[in-house]
Amino acid sequence: MATDKSQIKIKFFTRDEDQEVHVNEAPLYVPVSLKRYGLSEIVNHLLGNDEKPVPFDFLIDGTLLRTPIEEYLVKNGLSSEAFLTLEYTRSVLPPSFLASY
């Protein structure tokens, strides 16, 4: 279905009470090959945290994203034509585990 150049339209939101970690909800066009690490990098970039990034976890429809976006799409019968809303939360997982995905 998707080639390595495939992209998808997404937007981020968070329920975090700290306004400092809120990005604006404008859509982003991102590669479907992105995983948690890449998404976390984008959120940090949008927050201006490139130097001291905070690790974030991502949820789609309440389910933790543990694979590249592309795999999520295939598993849920979606295509890169979808418009995904990704919720992010500060990661509670240990750093050693985070590095693996």
């Binding site: 339209k9 859509p27 295509s79 034509e81 979808a82």
Partner: protein, 299 residues
């Protein structure tokens, strides 16, 4: 594979439903059609008289090159006058290419897409500017109405039958390259002063801008004018105007570095407008076409 959709293949939408959709879109654009037609007439038809042309027995100015032969022939070769002739009516082949991909439904642009097809096709039919064709694109590109057939309300309904906005890719690259082929074929049937124009109606979300840009340039070299109408039926916070493009570019050390730019900054079509409401379309389409023709005239 870029040919007309097979009559034998069942269209995804029943004709009764398509007629109802056409009626609704026709109604929503009734008051806009005459205005758009007038604007297009002003832009598409040349109003300036052409250059002085010879050779006539009477006229506006003498053709100096004919004077000596005139005298030498003892005033028999008397077609020595130039005239300002009336501009010939330009012939156009205009193709409306409409995005049939799923993102159109996701971004609530379906109604606006149908209204745009109705409005533009009715205005062009009134204008009688030449051939009108409609194609749909997504994963593939298919002709749903060819240049050589007249366009009526029933045609409109039949065209609507082919749109279901379920295609799971938006291959704009393929659209542009196949359109170049379709225009080349169509040109063979037209006369010398034929102008070819494509109006793309889409939510504007597409991958690989660099490749598309090269194809757009090729189309331009082939004298095919491309204008892109980005339709955006959603509320302003989700508008394409605010969308960002995420990419990764190598730095000096060869490491891939994250880059976030405005999506429209790399948009591969030079002549595009963003339309949020059908009432904006006549003004916006006229604006972009006027820009195009102004640039052509100054080139």
């Amino acid at each position: 594979e870029s040919g007309l959709v097979e009559d034998a293949v069942a269209a995804p939408r029943a004709i009764e439903e398509a007629r109802e959709l056409w009626r609704a879109s026709d109604l929503a654009t009734l008051e806009l059609t005459a205005g758009l037609c007038e604007q297009l007439r002003l832009i598409l038809e040349p109003t300036l008289a052409t250059k002085l042309k010879g050779d006539y027995k009477t006229g506006k100015r003498l053709n100096m090159k004919r004077i000596i032969p005139y005298i030498a022939s003892e005033f028999r070769k008397d077609k020595i006058w130039l005239r300002r002739t009336k501009p010939s009516k330009r012939q156009y082949q205009i193709m409306i290419a409409v995005d049939d991909s799923k993102s159109m439904a996701e971004s609530h642009s379906v109604e606006l897409a149908f209204q745009s097809i109705a409005l533009v096709s009715k205005a062009l039919t009134q204008l009688e500017s030449g051939g009108l064709s409609i194609v749909k694109f997504g994963e593939t590109t298919q002709v749903v109405h060819p240049f050589d057939r007249p366009f009526t309300s029933e045609t409109g309904a039949r065209v609507f039958q082919w749109f279901d906005f379920l295609q799971t890719r938006t291959d704009v690259q393929r659209l542009v390259s196949q359109s170049i082929g379709l225009f080349e074929t169509a040109r063979a049937t037209g006369d010398a002063d034929l102008w070819q124009l494509q109006i793309i109606v889409s939510d504007g979300v597409c991958e690989d801008h660099a490749t598309i840009q090269r194809l757009v340039r090729r189309a331009r070299e082939d004298k095919i004018m491309l204008v892109f109408v980005v339709i955006n039926g959603v509320n302003s916070s989700e508008s394409i105007l605010d969308m960002s493009q995420v990419s990764y570019v190598p730095d000096a050390a060869g490491n891939m570095v994250l880059k976030v730019d405005k999506y429209l900054d790399s948009f591969p079509f030079e002549f595009y407008v963003v339309v949020h409401d059908i009432n904006e379309l006549p003004e916006m389409l006229a604006l972009i076409l006027r820009q195009y023709f102004t640039e052509l005239a100054s080139a």
